[in-house]
Symmetry: C2
Subunit: 417 residues, 2 copies
């Protein structure tokens, strides 16, 4: 192109050029940086809250709705929780330099594979200012620079958080460009962000269907998808029905707006009559959308359409179906599932093993709520998202997901025959 680089490209180049400073530093520097950022965020609580108040006022004036407004809203506890998140990540193991494996060849060559940072991570996200701190924390832990592109709704909040983090980096002598915030929050800017080839080594999009559609149609950079979760709970013929009631209630109701909440319940026909009539009392306020066989046992239910089984409601709505057997449940999940988290409730070991083997998803659970599929809950530490793709990383994405490997081969002058 005849034009010079755009502002976005210049910002990305500065981040990339800064990346070596953290990639090549010893683990202690990354830990110190994270602790300094935590302190800086705490110190900046006042300006962060003031910026957030301005964002909120602007959003309310623009007619932004309740749930979105709630995500945007910060208070003293949420700022403290950002700082705690940075400290938590500071306490996690550092993945950089870890030797994955190694061996010596008959010709004397010493081979090893070593974890190294990806380089520069891009995160494109919606109006949740805490993502600014959370994503920066994982990028720094894994030795990467990060380019953050938030929502226009959270502009002032994001800038205040990023400024605090920049101060934390400066305090330990690291370049502030390691955590760079994109100012252009237009749609065209999002497309340009997703096309920063050669500047971004990996982009993690965090958002709903419209963002994912933009990524699918526009991204030319490598992407790791934090995808939709149309999660199922299957209650097998061999289920402990008390346990099943508790798991379904937890999977649906404990936090219906998140990706690991259950959206469809499948019940084996042998236990449907014993199970479904009892279910209603365990799901207060939940709208049930039932297939004909389930509807016969659930008088208050709405008739489900095929679209209902394909929908991630993210709300107090549950699709319910009765299946003839385990295989029909597996087939149903293969057809409608999004490869996120799928649970079976059963005391039958063979049924559990078959479900675990045959269901193709990031996480498969036996006798546990889908709501556990979360980096923190499963012991991965903090996460930047939950990958529903198969390449690179699947399931919760922690610091290690932001690294790659480098093959190091050391010899004494070996040449190939």
């Amino acid at each position: 192109m005849a034009e010079g680089p755009s502002e976005l490209e210049l910002l990305a180049r500065r981040a990339r050029d800064a990346s070596g400073a953290i990639a090549l530093a010893p683990p202690r520097v990354r830990t110190d940086a994270l602790l300094a950022c935590a302190e800086a965020v705490e110190r900046a609580a006042e300006p962060i809250l003031a910026a957030n108040a301005a964002d909120l006022a602007r959003a309310e004036a623009g007619g932004t709705s309740g749930a979105l407004l709630d995500r945007l809203r910060l208070d003293a506890a949420r700022v403290a929780s950002m700082a705690a998140g940075l400290r938590g990540v500071a306490g996690q193991p550092d993945p950089v330099g870890r030797v994955v494996d190694g061996w010596t060849l008959p010709n004397g060559l010493r081979v090893r594979r070593v974890r190294v940072p990806l380089g520069t991570i891009g995160v494109i996200y919606e109006a949740r200012p805490n993502v600014t701190a959370d994503a920066a924390a994982l990028a720094l832990r894994s030795g990467n620079a990060i380019l953050l592109r938030g929502s226009s709704l959270a502009e002032a909040s994001n800038l205040a958080v990023a400024t605090a983090i920049g101060e934390g980096l400066g305090a330990v002598g690291l370049p502030q460009a390691l955590v760079s915030l994109v100012q252009d929050t237009s749609r065209a800017g999002a497309v340009a962000f997703l096309r920063l080839d050669g500047l971004l080594d990996c982009v993690v999009p965090r958002g709903g269907p419209s963002l994912l559609a933009t990524v699918a149609s526009s991204a030319t950079v490598p992407v790791v998808l934090d995808g939709a979760g149309n999660c199922h709970v299957y209650v097998d013929a061999g289920a402990d029905l008390e346990m099943a009631l508790a798991i379904v209630a937890n999977a649906k109701c404990s936090r219906p707006g998140v990706c690991n909440a259950a959206e469809t319940l499948l019940v084996h026909e042998e236990v449907a009559a014993a199970f479904l009539p009892r279910l209603v009392a365990h799901l207060p306020g939940v709208e049930l959308r039932a297939d004909p066989r389930a509807a016969a046992l659930l008088p208050g239910a709405v008739a489900a359409t095929a679209a209902d089984f394909a929908t991630e409601f993210l709300d107090l709505v549950l699709a319910v179906g009765v299946v003839a057997d385990l295989e029909e449940a597996i087939t149903h999940i293969a057809r409608y599932g999004t490869g996120h988290s799928e649970a079976i409730v059963t005391e039958d070991r063979r049924a559990a093993e078959r479900f675990v083997a045959a269901v193709d998803a990031a996480a498969v659970l036996v006798n546990a709520s889908t709501r556990f599929v979360d980096g923190g809950e499963l012991g991965f530490g903090a996460e930047i998202g939950i990958s529903t793709q198969k390449l690179h990383v699947r399931g919760p994405m922690g610091a290690e997901a932001l690294t790659t490997v480098k093959l190091v081969v050391e010899g004494d002058g070996q040449v190939r025959d």
Copy 2:
């Protein structure tokens, strides 16, 4: 779309629908299948060679050139080598079902990550019929179905090889659709292949710049790139010059047409006068394209342009530059390298460590020829290519690169607070 599925889609669906038969089978079945395929290829040597003769005659009539014709050509030894390759992969460890890691959480949940096949692999490749067998072998070892899309030049050869493999699969009771060959070898067909979303879990393109350009502009399926290798050898001030001469000669001349051959030599200015004049005798028949400082020491050299340093010659041509120090070599490689294989020759431990840490490539070598970067040479077993991307797999891609992980969580009714 109003139209029904295309022939290509139907073929891909049949492969996908067959994939469970190998994914869920025990390792022994995959091993037996590979051994049966090896036998079937040996038995089919005659029809394979006859088909290849027909391809060759057609290619020659169409004016196909020497190197391409050589890649297309099979003889009894090459057919035997395909069978040996299948047997070799049969002897490799099976990655499916391997537990990557696991732990028990305080609430009693048992968590483990298990290797599982990707599902259906696509390989799009040029006129090398041996890729048909090699790629099928790695796909089967890792429990995947594979959809193969070769070159029109090798149509008959590929069909004969795939037919033999199908017979091998049939002999152990596996569906022949596990190894499916695409008949449409048109350019439009290649684009359609790269857009089989939801049917192909990963595509590995194997070919030159024009194929890679088609992938970059058209692919919507997940891709792992077997990319270009603009590989460097850097001769440091601390190099053993005898060793350096042998490594440069091997890296350039042992097989100039492959991706791990060296394309650029960088020499530290302190040793340039001692090293470069001696080099010529070690590189018989190699055209040297030298920057001004190197040219002063290489009377017969052509003047190098910036484009020469960016070129993967794949021929007996070497770009040569003199650098002021190690840092200039690192900067040069960052600018012109393709992230494949980069070597330093030095006895200086600090220089070696700095080079290894600062050079961003799939493989970094110290005192060894770049030509070692190959799955077989480095002990990875057979490979389907060498990844120059950072996500999913970097460096030689063996059977494990064709797997993903599944998180299995087992409980006793746990629900989340």
